[in-house]
């Protein structure tokens, strides 16, 4: 019985140690509540809600901010993307169909290789192929409302006019 008690006590001590470490040493982080049904499916009703959704997607589900950073990340910073748009869809290397800022931003999200900012292409492609996945693909999986919210957010942080229409207002692509 002595050896059983010793082995059991030792096992409990190990389990207790791991539990103590996880409960008291690791910082207590409580993951947020799941998004409420109205926010998840109803869609933004005002421009402010649209911008808030855009910022949330930009930093969260869209994972944009992981690569698009100011300090030499894998992708160019986007804080002037709306202002730089016109020059880009007029550039010689542009292969898309956009004719205005909003459609350019939309296109660069769903088809990132339509224009690749020099120096940010996949190695060996002469900046013709973007390493960024299209945001509709399953690895990111944004829906149309989320994409338009991100465009509005990009226009907002660039200080440009927000041209994105609210869902249900019949926005043209």
């Amino acid at each position: 019985m002595g050896r059983f008690a010793r082995a059991a006590a030792f096992s409990l001590f190990i389990i207790g140690l791991y539990t103590f470490y996880s409960v008291f040493v690791i910082p207590p982080i409580n993951p947020g509540e799941p998004p409420s049904e109205s926010a998840a499916s109803g869609g933004p009703a005002t421009i402010e809600e649209l911008l808030a959704l855009g910022e949330e997607v930009y930093n969260g589900k869209g994972a944009c901010s992981l690569c698009h950073t100011r300090d030499g990340g894998r992708a160019p910073a986007l804080d002037d993307s709306a202002l730089a748009a016109k020059a880009r869809f007029s550039a010689p290397g542009y292969s898309g169909k956009a004719a205005d800022v909003e459609s350019y931003l939309y296109e660069s999200l769903v088809d990132p290789s339509a224009y690749v900012v020099p120096g940010y292409g996949v190695s060996g492609t002469d900046d013709r192929v973007s390493p960024m996945p299209g945001v509709r693909e399953s690895s990111i999986g944004l829906n149309d409302t989320e994409i338009r919210a991100v465009i509005a957010y990009l226009q907002s942080i660039s200080g440009a006019e927000i041209t994105v229409a609210l869902p249900g207002e019949g926005a043209g692509e």
Binding site: F4, F10, Y18, T19, S22, I26, P28, P34, G62
Partner: protein
């Protein structure tokens, strides 16, 4: 031969659980008729809180969680044991060494009750899912219903093979019968692994659904749904992890029996059994991180958001806990090997190296343990100039972790090499050149792994950070293989003393117990995170969890659940071993 635990004709003990599983699957198929078979399929249902039956005072999620965890622990054990039992039996046949056969049979005998418990806990899990999450089960069954046939088929095959294998052990002990017995063992493993693959299809679909459109409408191609992003990597990861886990549990059993051995012969037997089982456990642990890399890469490939939630979001700290436990596993494994130096006639000569190996393993552990982003108060963040520690921050990055884990593997392997040499002494004159070559290989490997980690990790484009881990791993594997070949060449014609099995300090056996407990706890924790990264989705991005418990629990809460489950599981395992001991006693009595 009297059977250790069971009375009555063979098959009775397991036929009940088998029947339960079969009936539950048929019931599930009947309850959730595939209205969509052969016609248009329905989208994933949009559930509301009212779609989840509740029982007062019972948390449905906790009930399913614990049932699933118990089932996975038992299943891992019973899938692993037959794998190395067959391997040991095969080695015994080839080497004509009865020790292997004896220990293989004992492995199987002590685990036989666990087969029944695996089926029972599987039935409990399925029952809990059907009762508490009927909407989810209905949707999954509408896609995966046909796989239940395969599940039932594999289950029946496994049951038949298990009983033939177990009860036929002594009747099929010689000549061609022995080969037939080995073939039955192979069949047992194939059917068991097939069973796991079928179950994995359901689970991985919930994480990385494929074969459905954005609304969850099934395309009708079952293979596409089965062969989703995570199916293959999870099959491989679980297959390897199961072997490591089974080895650890049997090692703990041997350790316990070693501590209570009544004579030298018994002590020697359980020492050998513990060593063999732990060798299997640690041997399977070594490739596990690489299977884990594949699994994680596929998660990122499917959804960057899910990958970020896993590695950089709320669960990032969970990997620090994982690092602590894996560090403990490596330290325990090394400690056990160092204690084993005493088994060999020449072991004393290598004791002096232990402190250096310990230093490297401990330092690597600390690097692995170092978090990248610190959770700080604003004043603390101001004091150190940001969220990253100015000196230790770089150690939190993946290149540092990859370097550390390769060092840990390399030096654990060095412990193993020294352990082997504890009972061998090469005598040829050229041995010193082989030794120099090995030392050179180790030195070059350490330099190369460090260079790859530091240069590509910190001084080149970000893209190379992760890519450099591949040549690091290749370096480690190359050194392991090359040194084993050199050891084999050196050992030929040299002096070789048999190990003195049983000549181990008692404290060494606690290292084996620690390995089993840590494996169990770690499996529970990693199972939690695998499931939790779906967050508030039943089927990720397809079908929302609308129950009151859709929120993601904290790591602290998960740790308490895992600890409770671990204690219950290990208590049951101890009970099984106790039964096994009783069976052995009665068997010995009859034999005597």
């Amino acid at each position: 031969m009297p059977l250790p635990m069971k009375k009555g004709p063979p098959g009775n003990a397991l036929s009940s659980p088998a029947l339960i599983i079969g009936i539950l699957f048929l019931a599930a198929s009947a309850l959730f008729p595939s209205e969509s078979y052969g016609s248009a399929y329905a989208p994933a249902p949009l559930l509301g809180p009212g779609d989840y039956p509740s029982v007062k005072g019972l948390s449905p999620r906790l009930a399913v969680w614990l049932a699933a965890q118990m089932h996975v622990w038992f299943a891992a054990f019973v899938l692993a044991v037959p794998i190395f039992v067959v391997i040991l039996e095969f080695i015994g046949v080839v080497k004509k060494d009865a020790r292997y056969d004896r220990v293989a049979y004992e492995f199987l005998r002590v685990s036989i009750t666990a087969f029944s418990l695996t089926a029972i806990t599987g039935g409990m899990l399925l029952g809990a899912l059907i009762v508490f999450y009927p909407g989810l089960m209905r949707y999954l069954a509408s896609i995966f219903g046909p796989t239940a046939i395969f599940y039932a088929l594999f289950f029946l095959l496994e049951t038949a093979a298990l009983y033939t294998y177990y009860y036929g052990w002594k009747r099929m002990a010689e000549g061609r019968s022995k080969l037939l017995h080995l073939a039955v063992g192979l069949g047992l493993n194939i059917s068991g692994t097939g069973l796991m693959f079928v179950a994995n299809a359901w689970v991985t679909f919930m994480m990385t659904p494929s074969g459905v459109d954005g609304a969850g409408v099934f395309s009708g191609n079952l293979w596409e749904a089965v062969n989703n992003h995570l199916w293959s990597p999870m099959n491989l990861h679980r297959f390897i992890a199961n072997i490591a886990y089974g080895g650890s549990i049997v090692g703990a059993y041997a350790a316990y029996r070693f501590l209570g051995a009544s004579n030298e012969e018994e002590r020697a037997h359980y020492d050998w059994m513990g060593y063999t089982a732990s060798l299997i456990a640690i041997g399977a642990l070594l490739p596990l991180p690489f299977a884990g890399y594949w699994l994680t890469a596929e998660i990122y490939a499917f959804s960057q958001q899910m990958g970020i939630t896993l590695m950089g979001g709320v669960f990032a700290w969970l990997f620090i806990i994982q690092a602590v436990i894996i560090g403990a596993l490596f330290l325990a494994a090394n400690y056990y090997l160092w204690c084993g130096f005493g088994r060999g006639a020449y072991g004393d000569a290598y004791i002096k190296y232990v402190k250096y190996i310990a230093l490297v393993v401990a330092a690597s552990f600390l690097v692995w343990f170092t978090p990248h982003t610190l959770i700080l108060t604003p004043s603390e963040a101001r004091a150190i100039g940001g969220q990253y520690h100015p000196y230790l921050g770089p150690l939190g990055l993946m290149p540092a972790k990859n370097t550390a884990v390769n060092m840990m593997l390399l030096f654990t392997f060095l412990s193993f090499i020294l352990y082997r040499r504890a009972h061998r002494r090469p005598v040829a004159a050229w041995v010193k050149y082989w030794n120099a070559l090995q030392a050179g290989l180790f030195t070059a490997a350490v330099a190369n792994i460090s260079f790859l980690g530091v240069y590509y990790g910190y001084f080149t484009n970000t893209v190379y950070k992760v890519a450099s881990s591949v040549p690091q791993v290749a370096t480690t594997l190359f050194v392991i293989v090359a040194c084993l070949v050199i050891e084999w060449l050196m050992g030929r014609g040299g002096k070789r003393e048999d190990f003195k099995w049983g000549r181990m300090p008692e404290r060494s056996q606690y290292a084996l117990i620690l390995i089993a407990v840590s494996f169990t706890w770690l499996m529970g924790l990693m199972g939690f995170v695998r499931s939790a990264i779906r967050q508030h989705w039943h089927v990720y991005s397809i079908m929302k969890d609308a129950s009151a418990e859709a929120f993601t629990p904290s790591i602290a809460y998960a740790a308490k659940v895992v600890s409770t489950g671990t204690i219950v599981f290990l208590a049951i395992v101890v009970f099984i071993f106790w039964l096994g001991g009783m069976g052995q006693g009665s068997e010995a009595g009859k034999d005597g």
